[in-house]
């Protein structure tokens, strides 16, 4: 297993370098929307400026570390029939996707951490000296869990492609709703109470917002425990969904175009 993974990782690493320009451009493009949202909030409440800068910088970081694109790939492969090549391999296709995610996110990490350090020299709001070791530990656990949930969520939708043709449109709708519920439009504390309540029970908060809340200290004590509890529940749910959909999907699959 370990050897297989090291080969997969190396392969995906080489693949990534072929598209490095696209990756970098795509990555910078994804930062624009959070930055605009940040400016909106800085306008609404100028006193909280530093808090917003920190929140949205953390948001950009967490967004990159948890982003999931597998639904697009799976949908295309299933539609075009090239997914058959993956099915006949003796190693479950999900491992290819996981390896790809690890490689890309490692790249993001290598770029974003020095960038954060550099920016923190000029922007005091980004300095991290207030954060305790326990917070860091919890943050990394929550971040890992967030990446896993988001990946599984995306993969679940990708597998639905066996039955539904326009699965990316459906996924896009969920993404749009999740903007509110995951803390990307506003920090949880600024959401209307109704949205805040339902976001607690839905998976979206645990895909992006929850790790940031730990870092900013806006979630504390028992709320952190409940948060991890719900995150674990959703993680298990999507694991099961991927497992079941995979089995049912293989029976359903009729490779298009052979």
């Amino acid at each position: 297993m370990f050897r297989k993974y090291s080969v997969l990782l190396r392969m995906k690493y080489v693949e990534m370098f072929a598209y490095r320009l696209a990756t970098i451009v795509w990555m910078t493009g994804a930062m624009v929307q959070p930055l605009i949202t940040m400016m909106v909030w800085m306008n609404i409440d100028p006193d909280q400026e530093n808090a917003f800068i920190f929140y949205f910088a953390a948001l950009i970081f967490v967004e990159r570390m948890t982003s999931a694109w597998d639904v697009w790939e799976l949908e295309r492969e299933i539609r075009e029939g090239t997914f058959s090549y993956q099915i006949v391999r003796p190693f479950h296709p999900i491992h290819w996707a996981i390896a790809e995610n690890i490689v890309y996110k490692a790249l993001f990490l290598v770029i974003l951490i020095p960038a954060w350090g550099l920016l923190a020299v000029f922007i005091p709001a980004l300095r991290l000296d207030q954060i305790s070791a326990a917070q860091w530990l919890l943050f990394f656990c929550a971040l890992l869990l967030a990446a896993v949930i988001r990946f599984l969520f995306s993969y679940t939708f990708g597998l639905l492609g066996f039955w539904v043709t326009k699965v990316t449109a459906l996924y896009g709708m969920f993404e749009a709703v999740s903007l509110f519920l995951s803390g990307r439009i506003a920090p949880m504390s600024l959401l209307p109470p109704f949205l805040k309540t339902i976001s607690f029970y839905l998976p979206f908060r645990y895909m992006v917002g929850f790790p940031i809340e730990i870092l900013t200290g806006s979630v504390q004590g028992m709320d952190i425990v409940y948060g991890f509890g719900w995150a674990a529940v959703w993680c298990m749910f999507f694991m099961l969904a991927v497992l079941l959909l995979w089995k049912a999907g293989l029976r359903k699959n009729q490779a298009v175009g052979g």
Binding site: V25, G29, V32, M39, V177, I185, A186, L191
Partner: protein, 262 residues
């Protein structure tokens, strides 16, 4: 001009025929457009849950701005976006040679050949939102407001076209990227909110260098009766300037184009 109009009508007709083969998708597309604008309105409501103005604009004003934004976005998705990836493919495969040999201006051809009609739903929804916002505000634009609005929306269309073409022209050099259009999206997102929201150097950049301010804010202010003759003239001048630059850039790119595989 007249000839180009006739050719455009011909593009329009062929694309319409093509699209009518997929009539059954109309409902789904309509629902997704409706959903999109609904989410955008909800976003603004989340902001206004905490405040009563955004960069000096009230709720109804921001809705009107969003209406204009949605309309323009619909027009971009209708006429410009479908052509971006096709140009890239032409350049990569070398089939761009066929475009060049056609007896029609190549820049015109590559920017309007393919149209996606159902995107016009977004235009209609945007116009609906503009009207709704005016009713909310109890404001009836005067004739002069309307004139100013149409002049400034005209320049914003030209500006969008020019900026879009400049980006599209870079594909002669950057052929590794599948779709450059999201670079434009990132810029265009900034026009979703009033220009008064941006501060310092960013506002200067978004007014004069990447003229986001003239794309949605100026038309919105005109329609609300807060126009200013100088700004409107400036928007026309800038639009002309950018169109000229994009034209020059296209010509320059054509000169450096060496077909593929030869």
């Amino acid at each position: 001009m007249k000839r180009h109009w006739r050719i455009f009508c011909e593009f329009f007709r062929t694309c319409l025929v093509e699209e009518l083969e997929y009539r059954s998708e109309f409902l789904g597309n309509f629902l997704s457009s409706l959903f999109g604008i609904g989410m955008a309105i909800l976003t603004i409501q989340v902001f206004f849950y905490q405040t009563d103005n955004l960069g000096g604009w009230k709720y109804a004003d921001v809705l009107l701005l969003l209406g204009i934004f949605n309309t323009l976005q619909g027009l971009i998705d209708f006429a410009l976006r479908p052509n971006m990836s096709r140009l890239l493919q032409h350049i990569r495969m070398g089939t761009f040679d066929y475009v060049l040999t056609k007896p029609v201006d190549s820049m015109f051809y590559v920017s309007f050949r393919h149209l996606v009609f159902w995107r016009l739903i977004d235009v209609l929804l945007g116009i609906g939102l503009i009207i709704y916002a005016l009713i909310q505000k109890h404001y009836m634009p005067t004739i002069m407001d309307a004139v100013m609005f149409f002049i400034s929306i005209g320049s914003s269309l030209v500006l969008i076209y020019a900026l879009w073409m400049m980006l599209m022209t870079t594909s002669f050099w950057v052929i590794r990227i599948d779709d450059l259009s999201f670079v434009f999206n990132s810029f265009f997102e900034t026009t979703r909110f009033p220009i008064g929201m941006y501060r310092g150097w960013l506002r200067i950049v978004l007014t004069y260098i990447l003229p986001a301010a003239f794309i949605t804010s100026t038309p919105a202010l005109s329609l609300l009766g807060k126009w200013n003759g100088m700004t409107t003239i400036l928007s026309v001048v800038l639009a002309g300037l950018f169109l000229w630059i994009s034209r020059r850039f296209w010509r320059y790119a054509l000169r450096s184009y060496t077909s593929a595989s030869s």
